[in-house]
């Protein structure tokens, strides 16, 4: 079998990522499956499936170089007690490495042609590698690392390799003790110190003020300065423990037991954070694209974060988020993530857990639509994919716009799709979910009877305004005609029927206008989706209207001219997010303005059913500095009895996010910051990473 390379993880262009090259030695033709499996199970399924490397897998391209050796197994060498060579048995292998099993000889060594063979293989197959992992087809334990390489055997477990990666990739020191006294000055590494001054301790930001410093004193100490708290975590609680860097005394480590101490525990907060900072640039992670979803059906909103060609999901326990799933390049099934993927959250199979519909109309040679569902182990997998078309729709196009709603009332969310840009006429489609796939149900070509023609700037809004359990449509158009229109289209489950059209006005509104902005939600809790309309542009003052759905039409419930009591004056750039903030079954509004005032304001407009009462917070929400870059996702991360996935209902909380920051804001009884994260979501036992 000729030599080759398989890129087993494609995180991005080599110049924007770190590149891990894996080379095998002593794997003959018949051993290639063994080699492939070892790489899959130990590297991808071990090192990169746990703690730090799992989270930041998107920093790494991984190349498996498939080198075929002429013989199976590697050369062997034995040493006499005095260090002289006792015997050597050479084999004809791709790299010519020699395994000795001798600790004092690094367990293995290079043959005469090994360095050249490695260089040649790298130059040919992975010319821009950053780190090299060489695997010997040798069942005995042993390994030798350094200088940007790690050499291991098939007898080594992933945890040993993860420890070695702590040195080779993290620049971390050993935290175990062996013997002797450390007599040098302050170590340059991040995880050892000789400093016992709390004020200047280099990991002092992770040490709780109630933790004694030093925390453990004496030879390779445990917690022995006072009583160890009952909640103390030997791996995650940080203090100052004597012993480390192989020495018993004279030097201190941050935790009792880190992966840099005994391989199997996760990296401690100091080592974890060092890794995170070191490779953050290469992950491509940002918090710009976040989606609230309840992936495990516990009634609490989790979050999906999409960055480039990776996604991560974080699960809420009511007060914080913890990593649940991390996927780079693809999920099994398979869907390959790209920067322009659009995600649509909904319970598409009616199991009480959210799934993800994903559409990409620009990054591939054709548009793709996929459905991602729970994979049974905390993550997502692709269960259906439509390449270029779903039969009946007549071809996906790049400007297809998708909307989630259960239009046939079977408890499974479906999709409406609209395209007003790519064809000679606009189209609306209905795609029904059966839980594991979508089926085309109906297409409207250029018009829905009674609407008088779909137009390119039609804006669709989903809500069950008839209260029959089927998601219906509102359509607004303020741009394409001589006046603005609102249409109401009731779903029969297989069709849409117009029940009302408002030409230029909804009675009581004083005239629809071009920049009217519609927000849907059941503001009176009668089971019918109502309509809020805001206009900050077309009149001499901003207006907000509340229009109650009668089931077949709209009736004005209230119009606010220039202000909602408590908001302090509406302004041109007010934005709104429908959400049942107080959990009373009536859809309220989160109000947001960052443009019109001297500072930013975030407001709660609570619906009584026919009117609104507002309150607001300005500039800061706790430690969250409100800003123009902030984006909000109404959600329910605290949990509650109301099904959080029902659009616009039972969402008392907010996820707020921007490039670098992610926050959890409670909305009830007033806005308050629950949690704030910088660059990555991680819950330190004490301290933070900024």
């Amino acid at each position: 079998m000729p030599d080759s390379v398989t890129q087993i993880r494609n995180a991005g262009p080599v110049g924007s990522k770190r590149n891990l090259a894996i080379l095998g030695d002593g794997f003959a033709d018949a051993d290639q499956t063994t080699y492939n499996n070892w790489v899959q199970n130990t590297v991808l399924g071990g090192v990169f499936a746990n703690d730090y490397f799992y989270e930041d897998g998107s920093a790494w391209n991984i190349f498996r170089v498939n080198l075929t050796s002429n013989t199976s197994g590697v050369s062997q060498r034995t040493y006499n007690a005095d260090g002289t060579i006792a015997s050597t048995t050479l084999k004809d292998t791709a790299l010519g490495m020699i395994f000795s099993g001798s600790w004092s000889h690094c367990w293995m060594e290079y043959g005469t042609g090994t360095e050249t063979a490695i260089q040649n293989a790298l130059k040919k197959w992975v010319p821009d590698y950053n780190f090299v992992l060489i695997i010997l087809n040798e069942p005995g334990y042993g390994g030798c690392g350094g200088g940007g390489r790690a050499h291991v055997t098939t007898g080594d477990g992933w945890a040993v390799i993860a420890h070695e990666f702590g040195h080779g990739l993290g620049g971390l020191a050993d935290e175990y003790c062996n013997s002797g006294v450390f007599t040098s000055g302050e170590p340059g590494v991040v995880d050892l110190t000789v400093n016992t001054d709390r004020a200047t301790l280099k990991w002092g930001n992770f040490v709780d003020p109630t933790t004694p410093i030093p925390t453990g004193s004496g030879s390779c100490s445990d917690y022995n300065q006072g009583t160890k708290p009952a909640t103390w975590d030997d791996n995650q609680d940080v203090g100052l423990f004597e012993g480390g860097g192989t020495k018993n005394t004279g030097v201190y480590r941050p935790v009792i037991n880190c992966r840099m101490n005994s391989n199997t525990p996760p990296y401690c907060p100091v080592c974890y954070t060092s890794f995170k900072r070191q490779y953050d640039t290469w992950t491509g992670h940002t918090f710009l694209k976040c989606y609230a979803a309840d992936f495990n059906g516990d009634g609490r909103s989790d979050v999906l974060v999409h960055s480039g060609n990776s996604i991560q999901t974080f699960r809420s326990n009511g007060s914080q988020l913890d990593i649940a799933f991390s996927a780079v390049e693809r999920v099994s099934g398979s869907w390959q993530f790209q920067p322009n993927d659009q995600f649509f959250i909904g319970d598409f199979n009616g199991d009480g857990k959210d799934e993800v519909a994903v559409f990409n109309g620009v990054d591939w040679i054709m548009p793709y639509l996929g459905l991602l569902a729970y994979d049974g182990s905390g993550g997502l997998r692709l269960v259906a994919r439509y390449d270029g078309d779903i039969p009946g729709w007549g071809g996906f196009a790049k400007n297809d716009l998708f909307y989630v709603g259960d239009f046939n009332g079977d408890g499974k969310q479906d999709l409406f799709v609209f395209n007003g840009a790519d064809w000679s006429m606009p189209y609306v489609g209905m795609l029904r979910s059966n839980g594991s796939s979508f089926t085309f149900i109906k297409r409207f070509d250029g018009d829905i009877p009674g609407w008088g023609g779909l137009a390119k700037n039609d804006k669709l809004f989903v809500g069950d305004y008839s209260g029959d359990g089927n998601a219906d449509l509102f359509i607004f158009n303020g741009d394409d005609w001589s006046m603005a229109y609102v249409g109401m289209f009731s779903s029969t489950g297989t069709n849409l029927q117009m029940t009302a059209r408002y030409d230029g006005d909804i009675p009581g509104w004083g005239g629809l206008a071009r920049h009217d902005k519609l927000y849907v939600g059941d503001f009176n809790g009668d089971g019918k989706t109502d309509l809020y309309i805001f206009n900050g542009d077309d009149w001499s003052m901003p207006y907000l209207g509340m229009f109650r759905s009668t089931g077949s039409g709209l009736q004005i419930a209230h119009r606010y001219d220039g202000d909602v009591p408590g908001w302090g004056g509406m302004a041109r750039h007010d934005q709104f997010f429908p959400a049942d903030i107080n959990g009373d079954g009536k859809t309220d509004l989160v109000a947001w303005n960052f443009e019109d005032w001297v500072t930013e304001y975030l407001g709660r407009m609570i619906s009584s059913g026919s009117s609104l009462t507002a309150s607001f917070i300005g500039d800061w929400v706790g430690e969250w500095n409100l800003g123009a870059v902030d984006r909000f996702e109404p959600c329910n991360f605290q949990g509650g009895t109301i099904r959080p996935f029902r659009r616009g209902r039972g969402k008392p909380d907010l996820f707020v996010h921007n490039q670098d920051w992610f926050g959890m804001i409670r909305g009830n009884p007033a806005f308050a910051l629950q949690k704030i994260y910088y660059r990555w979501i991680h819950n330190y036992r004490y301290g933070r990473n900024w």
Binding site: L169, G171, V190, T246, R385, G452, M483, G504, G508, D538
Partner: protein, 235 residues
């Protein structure tokens, strides 16, 4: 800035005559399809298409990417630098990599290198682990083997990336590669606009340096670009 002169909305109980702008009003039927660049672009008739759901395979084939577009000469040169026993340096290999190149915003780990031309930084990166080999711990061995056995390397090599566009003929003699040891790691060492030896004078120690890059060691494509090499076949 001129103030916007806008009308006031009529009262909620006042009769409204919607303000009409340019263009047509809606009728009960749709307008005719619009031509796009002179052609009608219509979806196939829906009625003729199958409405049966597709059967999902266990694994779909890979999605099909666009034809790869060359980044138009964007790329970088990767140089392999050897540091000898006496601290002297030599460039032992180089090749061109066609890829975007991201520059880290901070340095971490035990070593870092910086490529400069005068005061201008061309690139920098961190090197976590250099110049040493470690035998893995022997968990079942005697006490002395329950730690790494360390081997200091007399000579070692490291890799350097430099944006190809910066390796002009005029610049090559002035390009300096400096390898630093991080003597004192700080939790975060963000990179500013000053050269590393200025910004982190206290934390970094120079270990080795390359002064000037000989054009002959560069990949041919980069040599051609740098203007030092005549086109092949020319006398």
């Amino acid at each position: 800035m001129s103030e916007r002169s806008l009308p006031e909305k009529p009262a909620t109980d006042a009769p409204v005559s919607p303000a009409k702008g340019k263009g047509a009003s809606k009728s009960k039927v749709a307008p005719r399809p619009q031509r796009i660049r002179g052609a009608l672009r219509l979806k196939p008739k829906a009625a003729k298409l199958s409405t049966s759901p597709a059967t999902a395979p266990e694994n779909y084939a890979d999605q099909t990417g666009h034809k790869r577009i060359s980044p138009g000469g964007e790329g970088y040169v990767r140089l392999r630098v050897r540091v000898g026993e006496d601290g002297g340096t030599s460039i032992v290999d180089s090749h061109f990599v066609e890829s975007t190149l991201v520059q880290p915003s901070a340095i971490y780990g035990n070593f870092a290198y910086e490529v400069t031309e005068g005061e201008k930084r061309l690139y920098l990166d961190s090197i976590p682990d250099l110049g040493v080999f470690r035998s893995f711990v022997n968990p079942d061995g005697p006490l002395e083997e329950r730690q790494h056995h360390m081997y200091e390397l007399k000579t070692y090599e490291f890799d350097v990336r430099v944006p190809a566009r910066d390796l002009t003929a005029a610049a090559l003699p002035k390009v300096v590669i400096t390898l630093y040891r991080v003597k004192e790691a700080r939790p975060a060492m963000p990179v500013g606009i000053q050269p590393l030896h200025v910004q982190y004078q206290r934390e970094l120690r120079e270990v080795a340096r390359v002064d000037g890059i000989p054009a002959r060691i560069l990949p041919e494509a980069v040599q051609r670009r740098s203007g030092k090499r005549k086109p092949s076949g020319q006398k």
